[in-house]
Symmetry: C2
Subunit: 100 residues, 2 copies
């Protein structure tokens, strides 16, 4: 693997890693139905708000979400809808695996 390839794969891994957590998958799934503020997501998920906030930052830093402050609240939304295709493929993997 060349240094250039390594750099490229690291950048890709960072994006995929942002999705590689149950809570963050839940967030993406929820945001596929429209924007949500941090407090709404916190209620839905059931962990402390600081934890949710960090998950959201991670997704945002990876380029998957964008945020908008409106008054005291911060709303997050999906930036790149194609990530939802991941779910379909993951299901295909699961079915192939279960049927082994």
């Amino acid at each position: 693997m060349t240094a250039a390839e390594l750099t490229r794969y690291k950048a890709q891994a960072r994006i995929i890693k942002a999705l590689a957590h149950p809570t963050r998958l839940f967030i993406v799934d929820e945001l596929s139905r429209g924007e949500r503020c941090v407090c709404e997501l916190t209620d839905l998920i059931g962990v402390e708000m600081p934890t949710v906030s960090r998950h959201l930052s991670q997704l945002k830093n990876a380029g998957l979400l964008e945020d908008e402050k409106r008054g005291a609240q911060v709303f997050y939304r999906l930036r790149v809808p194609c990530v939802l295709n991941f779910f379909k493929c993951v299901q295909a993997v699961q079915m192939a695996h279960d049927a082994e």
Copy 2:
């Protein structure tokens, strides 16, 4: 998040996590061009064989690869081609992010 949802997201996260590493992305990319034995991948990647072997196990346990022993060698191949679509979407994320 209900207990059932949590279980589902955990299972999905495990599969996505298997892809969330530069070396493992390289492996998937390489295997998209055909099966490879552990020694070939080891040469290409440039880390110790035990490390490559563990990355391969992780991908296999997630249901992404299958292996076949032929003589002293073990050949790995992609099991679910749709994971290659991930790369396209990841590129879309990167472009959207860079253009921000």
